[in-house]
């Protein structure tokens, strides 16, 4: 079975080499509330005019992976076609009482917590089917979270390209230099997905790394 899979993979590589097709499936990862869906919406809206998912200040708003295929990005003379997977926020703990602090009723909070656990599992499963990752970090937060450490470690172990997106540069407490210091071995682009600041730099970096 693995021989057949290996032959299929080699065939796909050859097709890509012969026709020069630059297509990649990338996942948008990060902890809850880092701005993953805001970024996914920004990318998809800029290049295809659509939206992917709803956003909220309550953590774990995205509890199912949202996939948008065939987003073509042209930047700096390079073109890349992406299948973008906006994944649920990764976490090691989920407590329904935290959702109640945002004003949700107990039943609603429990339902969201249950769905959030399933979302984390779904995000993990997607790691197997990606060509690269945009790891979104909140520039106002400590970058040494275990989610960041684990996602970076997995990409390095799988030898897949990783681009760190230091988001929320529009906020006064933003300190993307802390992220750069924590993960100096990986390329980093500082943006505000909400306001669109530096978003063109991100598109150039995406075309360079995933094209």
């Amino acid at each position: 079975m693995s021989v057949i899979r290996s032959l299929k993979m080699n065939f796909a590589v050859w097709i890509k080499w012969i026709f020069g097709k630059k297509r990649a499936r990338i996942g948008i990862y990060g902890p809850p509330n880092a701005g993953k869906t805001t970024l996914a919406n920004r990318i998809v809206r800029d290049w295809s005019g659509m939206e992917t998912g709803g956003i909220s200040h309550i953590p774990h708003e995205t509890r199912r992976a949202l996939r948008t295929d065939g987003v073509v990005i042209n930047a700096n003379g390079s073109t890349v076609e992406l299948d973008i997977v906006d994944t649920p926020g990764m976490a090691t703990k989920i407590d329904f009482r935290e959702f109640m602090a945002y004003g949700l009723e107990e039943e609603e909070a429990k339902r969201r917590a249950k769905e959030a656990t399933e979302g984390v599992i779904e995000a993990i499963k997607w790691l197997e089917d990606l060509d690269g990752i945009l790891l979104v970090m909140d520039s106002t937060e400590d970058p040494y979270t275990q989610v960041n450490v684990t996602v970076v470690g997995n990409m390095e172990a799988r030898k897949l390209p990783l681009l760190i997106v230091a988001n929320k540069m529009d906020l006064p407490r933003a300190a993307p230099s802390r992220i750069k210091a924590a993960f100096p071995q990986h390329p980093l682009v500082t943006i505000s997905a909400l306001e669109g600041s530096n978003i063109d730099d991100l598109y150039v970096a995406i075309a360079r790394h995933f094209g």
Partner: protein
């Protein structure tokens, strides 16, 4: 608190390690691994943790480690061995272990007893 030696960890399969850790943490223990988990094991631990979360009993884990070191050498590549060096890791129940501060050189945690 349980400190688990590198020798014991090296003799265990990935799933045995994860089962051991989750079993101890669900009983309220804090586990310190002399040699941590590989990135693949960490992600598997998170996945298993999600399946074990019970609304009023177990809300998950707090896990802290440093990024793995990749020390792959030419010989390792020829032999097909991974050059990944795992590092000391602390894991505990989310309602008892809380990370206060973490930087490149130090992890500071707060442990609550009897929560």
């Amino acid at each position: 608190m349980d400190l688990i030696s590198a020798e014991r960890l090296e003799s265990m399969s990935s799933m045995e390690k994860i089962r051991l850790i989750l079993g101890k943490v669900k009983r309220g223990n804090i586990v310190v691994l002399e040699l941590g988990l590989t990135p693949e094991e960490e992600v598997k631990l998170i996945e298993m943790t999600m399946t074990e979360i019970r609304l009023d009993e177990f809300s998950g884990i707090e896990i802290e480690s440093y990024p793995v070191k990749n020390e792959s050498t030419f010989i390792n590549k020829i032999l097909g061995k991974s050059g990944i060096k795992t590092r000391m890791t602390v894991i505990g129940p989310a309602n008892q272990l809380r990370t206060v501060e973490k930087d490149k050189y130090q992890i500071s945690t707060k442990v609550s007893v009897g929560d």
